[in-house]
Protein backbone atom coordinates (compact mmCIF):
# COMPACT_ATOMS: atom_id res chain seq x y z
CA UNK A 1 0.00 0.00 0.00
CA UNK A 2 1.25 3.43 -0.95
CA UNK A 3 2.19 5.68 1.93
CA UNK A 4 2.72 9.41 1.95
CA UNK A 5 3.92 11.65 4.71
CA UNK A 6 2.58 15.19 4.69
CA UNK A 7 2.21 18.21 6.88
CA UNK A 8 -1.40 18.70 5.98
CA UNK A 9 -4.13 17.07 3.93
CA UNK A 10 -6.95 19.19 2.54
CA UNK A 11 -10.14 17.41 1.57
CA UNK A 12 -11.92 19.28 -1.22
CA UNK A 13 -10.47 21.27 -4.12
CA UNK A 14 -13.03 24.08 -4.20
CA UNK A 15 -12.35 27.66 -3.08
CA UNK A 16 -11.98 26.91 0.64
CA UNK A 17 -9.75 23.93 0.01
CA UNK A 18 -7.50 25.77 -2.43
CA UNK A 19 -7.17 28.77 -0.12
CA UNK A 20 -6.32 26.49 2.80
CA UNK A 21 -3.81 24.45 0.80
CA UNK A 22 -2.08 27.52 -0.61
CA UNK A 23 -1.72 29.21 2.77
CA UNK A 24 -0.45 26.05 4.45
CA UNK A 25 1.98 25.29 1.63
CA UNK A 26 3.27 28.86 1.37
CA UNK A 27 4.03 28.58 5.08
CA UNK A 28 6.34 25.68 4.34
CA UNK A 29 4.14 22.62 4.91
CA UNK A 30 3.98 19.67 2.54
CA UNK A 31 0.33 19.72 1.45
CA UNK A 32 -1.91 17.52 -0.67
CA UNK A 33 -5.47 18.26 -1.76
CA UNK A 34 -7.83 15.33 -2.18
CA UNK A 35 -11.00 15.57 -4.25
CA UNK A 36 -13.56 13.11 -5.56
CA UNK A 37 -13.69 14.78 -8.96
CA UNK A 38 -11.10 14.38 -11.66
CA UNK A 39 -10.79 18.16 -11.99
CA UNK A 40 -10.16 20.88 -9.42
CA UNK A 41 -12.42 23.80 -8.60
CA UNK A 42 -15.19 22.16 -6.60
CA UNK A 43 -18.67 23.26 -7.65
CA UNK A 44 -18.71 27.02 -7.87
CA UNK A 45 -15.48 27.08 -9.85
CA UNK A 46 -16.39 23.94 -11.76
CA UNK A 47 -14.50 23.75 -14.98
CA UNK A 48 -16.56 24.71 -17.97
CA UNK A 49 -15.57 22.38 -20.79
CA UNK A 50 -12.00 22.44 -19.50
CA UNK A 51 -11.88 26.20 -19.04
CA UNK A 52 -11.34 27.23 -15.47
CA UNK A 53 -12.85 30.18 -13.67
CA UNK A 54 -10.21 32.97 -13.58
CA UNK A 55 -10.23 33.00 -9.75
CA UNK A 56 -9.58 29.28 -9.73
CA UNK A 57 -6.69 29.78 -12.13
CA UNK A 58 -5.04 32.33 -9.84
CA UNK A 59 -5.27 30.07 -6.79
CA UNK A 60 -4.11 27.03 -8.75
CA UNK A 61 -1.05 28.93 -9.97
CA UNK A 62 -0.20 29.84 -6.39
CA UNK A 63 -0.78 26.24 -5.35
CA UNK A 64 1.51 25.05 -8.09
CA UNK A 65 4.29 27.43 -7.11
CA UNK A 66 3.95 26.38 -3.47
CA UNK A 67 4.27 22.69 -4.38
CA UNK A 68 0.76 21.56 -3.48
CA UNK A 69 -0.03 18.05 -4.72
CA UNK A 70 -3.44 17.08 -6.04
CA UNK A 71 -4.90 13.61 -5.63
CA UNK A 72 -7.90 13.36 -7.94
CA UNK A 73 -10.82 10.91 -7.91
CA UNK A 74 -10.02 10.18 -4.30
CA UNK A 75 -12.24 9.55 -1.30
CA UNK A 76 -11.26 9.43 2.35
CA UNK A 77 -12.08 6.12 4.05
CA UNK A 78 -11.30 7.14 7.58
CA UNK A 79 -8.70 8.09 10.11
CA UNK A 80 -6.94 5.07 11.59
CA UNK A 81 -5.03 6.98 14.18
CA UNK A 82 -4.59 10.62 14.99
CA UNK A 83 -1.70 10.79 12.55
CA UNK A 84 -2.91 8.67 9.66
CA UNK A 85 -5.78 8.77 7.19
CA UNK A 86 -6.84 6.18 4.64
CA UNK A 87 -7.69 7.27 1.15
CA UNK A 88 -8.81 5.47 -1.99
CA UNK A 89 -7.87 7.05 -5.30
CA UNK A 90 -9.40 5.43 -8.36
CA UNK A 91 -8.85 1.82 -7.38
CA UNK A 92 -5.80 2.22 -5.17
CA UNK A 93 -5.69 2.56 -1.40
CA UNK A 94 -3.19 4.92 0.22
CA UNK A 95 -2.23 5.75 3.73
CA UNK A 96 -1.30 9.33 4.40
CA UNK A 97 0.66 10.19 7.52
CA UNK A 98 -0.37 13.63 8.60
CA UNK A 99 -1.20 15.36 11.85
CA UNK A 100 -3.54 17.90 10.28
CA UNK A 101 -6.60 17.51 8.11
CA UNK A 102 -8.56 20.46 6.74
CA UNK A 103 -12.08 19.57 5.66
CA UNK A 104 -13.35 21.69 2.78
CA UNK A 105 -16.05 19.30 1.69
CA UNK A 106 -18.38 22.04 0.52
CA UNK A 107 -22.12 22.06 0.22
CA UNK A 108 -24.68 20.37 -1.89
CA UNK A 109 -28.23 21.09 -2.95
CA UNK A 110 -31.25 20.30 -0.84
CA UNK A 111 -33.72 18.23 -2.84
CA UNK A 112 -37.29 17.95 -1.59
CA UNK A 113 -39.64 15.37 -3.07
CA UNK A 114 -42.82 16.36 -4.87
CA UNK A 115 -45.07 14.33 -7.21
CA UNK A 116 -43.21 13.72 -10.46
CA UNK A 117 -39.78 14.80 -9.21
CA UNK A 118 -38.31 11.48 -10.35
CA UNK A 119 -39.23 12.06 -14.01
CA UNK A 120 -36.13 12.13 -16.21
CA UNK A 121 -35.36 15.74 -17.02
CA UNK A 122 -36.11 17.00 -13.52
CA UNK A 123 -32.77 18.02 -12.02
CA UNK A 124 -31.37 20.23 -9.31
CA UNK A 125 -30.64 23.89 -10.01
CA UNK A 126 -26.90 23.62 -9.48
CA UNK A 127 -27.24 20.12 -10.91
CA UNK A 128 -28.46 21.41 -14.25
CA UNK A 129 -25.68 23.98 -14.32
CA UNK A 130 -23.12 21.27 -13.57
CA UNK A 131 -24.50 19.04 -16.31
CA UNK A 132 -24.43 21.95 -18.76
CA UNK A 133 -20.82 22.74 -17.86
CA UNK A 134 -20.13 19.09 -18.59
CA UNK A 135 -21.51 19.53 -22.08
CA UNK A 136 -25.29 19.08 -21.81
CA UNK A 137 -26.86 21.02 -24.70
CA UNK A 138 -29.74 23.29 -23.70
CA UNK A 139 -29.74 25.69 -26.61
CA UNK A 140 -33.28 26.47 -27.71
CA UNK A 141 -34.74 24.27 -24.99
CA UNK A 142 -37.51 25.31 -22.59
CA UNK A 143 -36.42 25.45 -18.98
CA UNK A 144 -38.22 26.22 -15.73
CA UNK A 145 -36.17 26.88 -12.60
CA UNK A 146 -38.27 26.52 -9.44
CA UNK A 147 -36.99 26.28 -5.90
CA UNK A 148 -35.21 28.56 -3.52
CA UNK A 149 -32.04 30.53 -3.00
CA UNK A 150 -29.56 32.69 -4.92
CA UNK A 151 -28.70 29.79 -7.22
CA UNK A 152 -32.16 30.05 -8.81
CA UNK A 153 -31.71 33.40 -10.59
CA UNK A 154 -27.96 32.84 -11.03
CA UNK A 155 -28.43 29.59 -12.92
CA UNK A 156 -31.43 30.96 -14.82
CA UNK A 157 -29.31 33.82 -16.08
CA UNK A 158 -26.41 31.54 -16.97
CA UNK A 159 -28.62 29.18 -18.96
CA UNK A 160 -30.35 32.05 -20.72
CA UNK A 161 -26.96 33.37 -21.75
CA UNK A 162 -26.14 29.95 -23.16
CA UNK A 163 -29.18 29.95 -25.36
CA UNK A 164 -31.93 28.28 -23.37
CA UNK A 165 -35.45 29.67 -23.23
CA UNK A 166 -36.21 30.24 -19.58
CA UNK A 167 -39.99 29.96 -19.34
CA UNK A 168 -40.21 30.83 -15.67
CA UNK A 169 -38.21 31.38 -12.53
CA UNK A 170 -39.99 30.54 -9.28
CA UNK A 171 -38.84 31.30 -5.74
CA UNK A 172 -40.80 29.87 -2.81
CA UNK A 173 -39.88 32.76 -0.50
CA UNK A 174 -42.00 35.88 -0.47
CA UNK A 175 -40.99 38.86 -2.57
CA UNK A 176 -40.70 41.01 0.53
CA UNK A 177 -38.05 38.66 1.95
CA UNK A 178 -36.10 38.73 -1.28
CA UNK A 179 -36.30 42.49 -1.42
CA UNK A 180 -34.95 42.83 2.10
CA UNK A 181 -32.17 40.39 1.22
CA UNK A 182 -31.39 42.56 -1.79
CA UNK A 183 -31.16 45.62 0.43
CA UNK A 184 -28.66 43.83 2.68
CA UNK A 185 -26.47 43.42 -0.36
CA UNK A 186 -25.85 47.15 -0.24
CA UNK A 187 -23.03 46.41 2.23
CA UNK A 188 -21.44 44.08 -0.30
CA UNK A 189 -21.06 46.20 -3.41
CA UNK A 190 -19.69 43.48 -5.62
CA UNK A 191 -22.54 41.14 -4.79
CA UNK A 192 -25.01 43.98 -5.31
CA UNK A 193 -23.53 44.58 -8.73
CA UNK A 194 -23.81 40.89 -9.56
CA UNK A 195 -27.44 40.90 -8.46
CA UNK A 196 -28.23 43.84 -10.68
CA UNK A 197 -26.53 42.13 -13.61
CA UNK A 198 -28.67 39.08 -12.97
CA UNK A 199 -31.80 41.15 -12.88
CA UNK A 200 -30.90 42.67 -16.21
CA UNK A 201 -30.20 39.31 -17.83
CA UNK A 202 -33.49 37.97 -16.57
CA UNK A 203 -35.58 40.90 -17.76
CA UNK A 204 -38.56 39.54 -19.62
CA UNK A 205 -38.44 36.18 -17.89
CA UNK A 206 -41.64 35.53 -15.92
CA UNK A 207 -40.80 35.54 -12.22
CA UNK A 208 -43.02 33.91 -9.60
CA UNK A 209 -42.55 34.51 -5.90
CA UNK A 210 -44.17 32.59 -3.06
CA UNK A 211 -44.44 29.75 -5.61
CA UNK A 212 -43.13 26.21 -5.57
CA UNK A 213 -43.32 23.16 -7.84
CA UNK A 214 -46.20 21.03 -6.63
CA UNK A 215 -46.10 18.54 -9.48
CA UNK A 216 -43.99 17.62 -12.52
CA UNK A 217 -45.79 15.86 -15.36
CA UNK A 218 -44.86 14.00 -18.51
CA UNK A 219 -44.88 10.55 -20.06
CA UNK A 220 -41.27 9.35 -20.31
CA UNK A 221 -39.67 12.60 -19.26
CA UNK A 222 -40.76 15.92 -17.83
CA UNK A 223 -43.00 17.93 -20.13
CA UNK A 224 -44.52 20.51 -17.82
CA UNK A 225 -44.53 21.68 -14.23
CA UNK A 226 -47.38 22.84 -12.03
CA UNK A 227 -46.37 25.74 -9.82
CA UNK A 228 -48.53 26.39 -6.77
CA UNK A 229 -48.71 29.64 -4.91
CA UNK A 230 -50.86 31.78 -2.73
CA UNK A 231 -53.02 32.73 -5.67
CA UNK A 232 -53.56 29.28 -7.14
CA UNK A 233 -51.65 27.21 -9.68
CA UNK A 234 -50.08 27.75 -13.07
CA UNK A 235 -48.88 25.05 -15.47
CA UNK A 236 -45.77 25.78 -17.53
CA UNK A 237 -44.36 23.55 -20.29
CA UNK A 238 -40.67 22.67 -20.10
CA UNK A 239 -38.01 20.31 -21.45
CA UNK A 240 -35.97 20.74 -18.28
CA UNK A 241 -37.17 21.42 -14.75
CA UNK A 242 -34.42 22.50 -12.36
CA UNK A 243 -35.52 22.39 -8.75
CA UNK A 244 -33.73 22.55 -5.41
CA UNK A 245 -34.20 24.42 -2.17
CA UNK A 246 -30.94 26.01 -1.21
CA UNK A 247 -27.63 24.50 -0.22
CA UNK A 248 -26.73 22.41 2.80
CA UNK A 249 -23.32 21.68 4.26
CA UNK A 250 -21.69 18.37 3.39
CA UNK A 251 -20.69 17.07 6.81
CA UNK A 252 -20.41 13.33 6.18
CA UNK A 253 -16.66 13.04 6.44
CA UNK A 254 -16.61 15.33 9.45
CA UNK A 255 -19.14 13.14 11.24
CA UNK A 256 -17.26 10.01 10.28
CA UNK A 257 -14.19 11.52 11.93
CA UNK A 258 -16.20 12.30 15.05
CA UNK A 259 -16.57 16.08 14.65
CA UNK A 260 -19.57 17.84 16.14
CA UNK A 261 -21.98 19.48 13.76
CA UNK A 262 -24.94 21.81 14.27
CA UNK A 263 -27.78 22.68 11.95
CA UNK A 264 -25.54 24.97 9.88
CA UNK A 265 -22.63 22.60 9.44
CA UNK A 266 -19.39 21.51 11.08
CA UNK A 267 -18.76 23.32 14.35
CA UNK A 268 -15.43 25.16 14.40
CA UNK A 269 -13.64 27.63 16.66
CA UNK A 270 -12.14 30.95 15.56
CA UNK A 271 -9.12 29.15 14.12
CA UNK A 272 -11.43 26.96 12.04
CA UNK A 273 -10.58 23.98 14.21
CA UNK A 274 -13.25 21.34 14.89
CA UNK A 275 -13.63 19.60 18.24
CA UNK A 276 -11.46 16.74 17.02
CA UNK A 277 -7.78 17.57 17.56
CA UNK A 278 -5.92 18.07 14.31
CA UNK A 279 -9.08 18.36 12.21
CA UNK A 280 -10.00 21.77 10.79
CA UNK A 281 -12.87 22.79 8.54
CA UNK A 282 -13.58 25.74 6.28
CA UNK A 283 -16.04 26.95 3.69
CA UNK A 284 -19.56 25.79 2.92
CA UNK A 285 -19.21 22.69 5.06
CA UNK A 286 -19.10 24.89 8.16
CA UNK A 287 -22.15 26.87 7.04
CA UNK A 288 -23.37 27.98 3.61
CA UNK A 289 -22.02 31.42 2.86
CA UNK A 290 -20.71 31.63 -0.66
CA UNK A 291 -17.31 31.80 -2.24
CA UNK A 292 -15.95 34.90 -0.52
CA UNK A 293 -16.38 33.62 3.01
CA UNK A 294 -15.06 30.23 1.88
CA UNK A 295 -11.83 31.84 0.70
CA UNK A 296 -11.27 33.67 3.97
CA UNK A 297 -12.13 30.68 6.13
CA UNK A 298 -9.87 28.46 4.05
CA UNK A 299 -7.04 30.94 4.42
CA UNK A 300 -7.51 31.10 8.19
CA UNK A 301 -7.47 27.32 8.42
CA UNK A 302 -4.32 27.03 6.30
CA UNK A 303 -2.52 29.64 8.39
CA UNK A 304 -3.72 28.12 11.65
CA UNK A 305 -2.48 24.67 10.68
CA UNK A 306 0.90 26.20 9.88
CA UNK A 307 1.00 27.86 13.28
CA UNK A 308 0.83 31.38 11.83
CA UNK A 309 -1.61 32.54 14.46
CA UNK A 310 -1.08 36.30 14.06
CA UNK A 311 -1.53 36.19 10.30
CA UNK A 312 -4.67 34.16 10.78
CA UNK A 313 -6.06 36.71 13.23
CA UNK A 314 -5.53 39.48 10.71
CA UNK A 315 -8.19 37.84 8.56
CA UNK A 316 -10.83 37.65 11.29
CA UNK A 317 -12.41 41.01 10.52
CA UNK A 318 -12.84 40.25 6.86
CA UNK A 319 -14.28 36.88 7.78
CA UNK A 320 -16.87 38.55 10.02
CA UNK A 321 -17.91 40.84 7.22
CA UNK A 322 -18.33 37.95 4.81
CA UNK A 323 -20.15 35.85 7.39
CA UNK A 324 -22.76 38.56 7.76
CA UNK A 325 -23.75 37.88 4.16
CA UNK A 326 -24.13 34.21 5.03
CA UNK A 327 -26.45 35.06 7.90
CA UNK A 328 -28.54 37.28 5.64
CA UNK A 329 -28.88 34.39 3.20
CA UNK A 330 -30.20 32.02 5.78
CA UNK A 331 -33.03 34.16 7.04
CA UNK A 332 -34.25 35.32 3.68
CA UNK A 333 -34.79 31.94 2.07
CA UNK A 334 -36.33 29.97 4.92
CA UNK A 335 -38.60 27.20 3.63
CA UNK A 336 -42.34 27.61 3.83
CA UNK A 337 -44.36 24.70 5.14
CA UNK A 338 -46.16 24.19 1.80
CA UNK A 339 -42.93 23.11 0.23
CA UNK A 340 -42.43 20.44 2.89
CA UNK A 341 -46.00 19.24 2.36
CA UNK A 342 -45.91 18.88 -1.41
CA UNK A 343 -45.09 15.18 -1.09
CA UNK A 344 -47.92 12.65 -1.58
CA UNK A 345 -48.26 9.03 -0.44
CA UNK A 346 -47.16 7.63 -3.78
CA UNK A 347 -44.21 10.02 -4.17
CA UNK A 348 -40.86 8.23 -4.17
CA UNK A 349 -38.71 9.70 -1.41
CA UNK A 350 -35.70 7.35 -1.51
CA UNK A 351 -34.75 7.27 -5.17
CA UNK A 352 -32.09 4.58 -4.81
CA UNK A 353 -34.53 2.06 -3.34
CA UNK A 354 -37.91 3.41 -4.51
CA UNK A 355 -39.29 3.89 -1.01
CA UNK A 356 -42.44 6.01 -1.02
CA UNK A 357 -43.73 8.56 1.44
CA UNK A 358 -46.60 6.25 2.46
CA UNK A 359 -44.05 3.77 3.84
CA UNK A 360 -42.15 6.46 5.71
CA UNK A 361 -44.59 8.96 7.11
CA UNK A 362 -45.49 6.93 10.20
CA UNK A 363 -41.97 5.76 11.07
CA UNK A 364 -40.43 7.06 14.27
CA UNK A 365 -36.71 7.24 13.60
CA UNK A 366 -34.30 7.22 10.71
CA UNK A 367 -32.71 3.96 11.78
CA UNK A 368 -35.91 2.01 12.26
CA UNK A 369 -37.21 3.37 8.94
CA UNK A 370 -34.03 2.27 7.26
CA UNK A 371 -34.08 -1.25 8.65
CA UNK A 372 -37.74 -1.81 7.88
CA UNK A 373 -38.23 -0.02 4.53
CA UNK A 374 -34.72 0.09 3.02
CA UNK A 375 -34.71 3.90 2.88
CA UNK A 376 -31.12 5.07 2.62
CA UNK A 377 -29.73 1.62 1.88
CA UNK A 378 -28.80 2.40 -1.71
CA UNK A 379 -25.57 3.75 -3.14
CA UNK A 380 -26.25 7.37 -2.15
CA UNK A 381 -26.48 6.11 1.45
CA UNK A 382 -29.18 8.58 2.41
CA UNK A 383 -27.59 11.74 1.05
CA UNK A 384 -30.62 12.73 -0.99
CA UNK A 385 -33.50 11.20 0.97
CA UNK A 386 -31.86 11.76 4.35
CA UNK A 387 -31.63 15.52 3.93
CA UNK A 388 -35.26 15.63 2.83
CA UNK A 389 -36.47 13.40 5.67
CA UNK A 390 -34.60 15.48 8.23
CA UNK A 391 -36.90 18.30 7.23
CA UNK A 392 -40.05 16.32 6.53
CA UNK A 393 -39.85 14.17 9.68
CA UNK A 394 -37.43 16.01 11.97
CA UNK A 395 -35.04 13.08 12.02
CA UNK A 396 -31.32 13.53 12.60
CA UNK A 397 -28.86 12.73 9.87
CA UNK A 398 -28.03 9.06 9.48
CA UNK A 399 -24.66 7.81 10.76
CA UNK A 400 -22.13 7.74 7.98
CA UNK A 401 -20.03 4.61 7.54
CA UNK A 402 -17.13 4.10 5.17
CA UNK A 403 -16.73 4.15 2.25
CA UNK A 404 -18.27 7.58 1.84
CA UNK A 405 -18.48 6.95 -1.89
CA UNK A 406 -18.76 3.51 -3.50
CA UNK A 407 -15.34 2.02 -4.15
CA UNK A 408 -14.42 -1.21 -5.90
CA UNK A 409 -13.65 -3.94 -3.37
CA UNK A 410 -10.09 -4.22 -4.66
CA UNK A 411 -9.49 -0.74 -3.28
CA UNK A 412 -10.25 -1.98 0.22
CA UNK A 413 -7.39 -4.46 0.21
CA UNK A 414 -3.84 -3.59 1.13
CA UNK A 415 -2.50 -4.00 -2.35
CA UNK A 416 -5.47 -2.60 -4.17
CA UNK A 417 -4.47 -3.47 -7.70
CA UNK A 418 -7.33 -4.39 -10.00
CA UNK A 419 -6.44 -7.08 -12.47
CA UNK A 420 -6.48 -5.75 -16.04
CA UNK A 421 -9.32 -7.21 -18.08
Amino acid sequence: MDELSLGCVVVGAGPAGLAAAVNAAESGLRVAVIDENDRTGGQIWRSNRGALHPNAVRWLERADRAGVRFIAEATVLGRNRSDEIEVVSGDRPFRIKTESVILATGGRELFLPFPGWTLPGVTGVGGLQALVKGGLDIRGKDIVIAGSGPLVPAVAAELKRRGATVNAVAEQADFVRILSFGLKLARHPRKMFQALQLGFTLRGVPKHFSCWPSRAEGTDRVERVVLSGKRGTVTIPCDFLASSFGLIADTRLARLLGCSVDDRGIVVDEDQMTDVPGVYAAGECTGIGGVDVALVEGSVAGLAVAGRVDDARRLFRRRSVEQRFAAALEGSFALRRDVLQAVEDSTVVCRCEDVRWADLKDRESWRSAKLLTRVGMGPCQGRVCGAALCRLKGWTDPTPRPPLQPVPLAALTSSGQLQPR
Binding site: N37, R49, P120, V122, T123, G127, C380
Partner: protein, 83 residues
Protein backbone atom coordinates in the same frame (compact mmCIF):
# COMPACT_ATOMS: atom_id res chain seq x y z
CA UNK B 1 -9.36 23.71 -33.52
CA UNK B 2 -11.31 22.19 -30.60
CA UNK B 3 -10.41 18.58 -29.90
CA UNK B 4 -12.98 15.80 -30.06
CA UNK B 5 -13.45 12.34 -28.61
CA UNK B 6 -15.15 9.40 -30.32
CA UNK B 7 -16.88 6.80 -28.18
CA UNK B 8 -19.74 4.31 -28.34
CA UNK B 9 -23.03 4.79 -26.52
CA UNK B 10 -25.47 1.89 -26.63
CA UNK B 11 -23.78 0.61 -29.74
CA UNK B 12 -23.86 3.94 -31.58
CA UNK B 13 -20.60 5.68 -32.36
CA UNK B 14 -20.61 9.36 -31.54
CA UNK B 15 -18.10 12.17 -31.48
CA UNK B 16 -18.21 14.79 -28.75
CA UNK B 17 -16.13 17.78 -27.78
CA UNK B 18 -13.24 17.11 -25.42
CA UNK B 19 -14.18 17.64 -21.75
CA UNK B 20 -17.71 16.36 -22.19
CA UNK B 21 -18.95 14.21 -19.34
CA UNK B 22 -20.44 10.82 -20.16
CA UNK B 23 -23.75 11.95 -18.60
CA UNK B 24 -23.93 14.96 -20.92
CA UNK B 25 -22.99 12.87 -23.94
CA UNK B 26 -25.66 10.28 -23.14
CA UNK B 27 -28.32 12.91 -22.48
CA UNK B 28 -27.54 14.86 -25.65
CA UNK B 29 -27.75 11.67 -27.70
CA UNK B 30 -30.64 9.76 -26.13
CA UNK B 31 -32.31 11.94 -23.52
CA UNK B 32 -32.09 11.89 -19.75
CA UNK B 33 -33.52 8.40 -19.06
CA UNK B 34 -30.28 6.52 -18.63
CA UNK B 35 -31.07 4.23 -15.71
CA UNK B 36 -33.87 1.96 -14.50
CA UNK B 37 -34.82 2.06 -10.83
CA UNK B 38 -35.55 -0.82 -8.48
CA UNK B 39 -39.24 -0.67 -9.44
CA UNK B 40 -38.40 -0.25 -13.10
CA UNK B 41 -38.95 3.50 -13.37
CA UNK B 42 -36.85 5.50 -15.82
CA UNK B 43 -34.39 7.79 -14.14
CA UNK B 44 -31.85 10.44 -15.03
CA UNK B 45 -29.30 12.54 -13.17
CA UNK B 46 -30.38 15.27 -10.78
CA UNK B 47 -27.34 16.53 -8.89
CA UNK B 48 -24.63 16.60 -11.56
CA UNK B 49 -21.94 16.10 -8.94
CA UNK B 50 -21.84 12.45 -7.95
CA UNK B 51 -24.22 12.56 -5.00
CA UNK B 52 -27.52 11.17 -6.28
CA UNK B 53 -26.23 8.13 -8.19
CA UNK B 54 -29.07 8.43 -10.71
CA UNK B 55 -26.63 8.83 -13.60
CA UNK B 56 -25.14 5.33 -13.18
CA UNK B 57 -24.33 3.55 -16.43
CA UNK B 58 -22.00 0.72 -17.45
CA UNK B 59 -18.65 1.88 -18.85
CA UNK B 60 -16.26 -0.59 -20.49
CA UNK B 61 -18.09 -3.45 -18.85
CA UNK B 62 -17.99 -2.03 -15.34
CA UNK B 63 -21.43 -1.40 -13.86
CA UNK B 64 -22.60 1.43 -11.64
CA UNK B 65 -20.29 4.16 -12.89
CA UNK B 66 -21.41 7.71 -12.08
CA UNK B 67 -21.40 9.21 -15.54
CA UNK B 68 -21.61 12.85 -14.40
CA UNK B 69 -18.17 12.53 -12.83
CA UNK B 70 -16.48 10.81 -15.75
CA UNK B 71 -15.22 12.56 -18.88
CA UNK B 72 -15.56 10.85 -22.26
CA UNK B 73 -12.41 9.05 -23.34
CA UNK B 74 -11.57 7.81 -26.84
CA UNK B 75 -12.92 4.31 -27.44
CA UNK B 76 -15.07 4.20 -24.34
CA UNK B 77 -18.04 1.83 -24.50
CA UNK B 78 -21.02 3.10 -22.61
CA UNK B 79 -24.16 1.05 -21.98
CA UNK B 80 -27.23 2.70 -20.47
CA UNK B 81 -30.59 1.10 -19.75
CA UNK B 82 -31.14 1.14 -23.50
CA UNK B 83 -27.99 -0.68 -24.46
Amino acid sequence: MPRTVTLTIDGASITVAENTTVAAAVWNLNGPDMRVSVERQSRGPICGMGICHECRVTIDGRRHQRSCLIHCQPGMEVATRHG
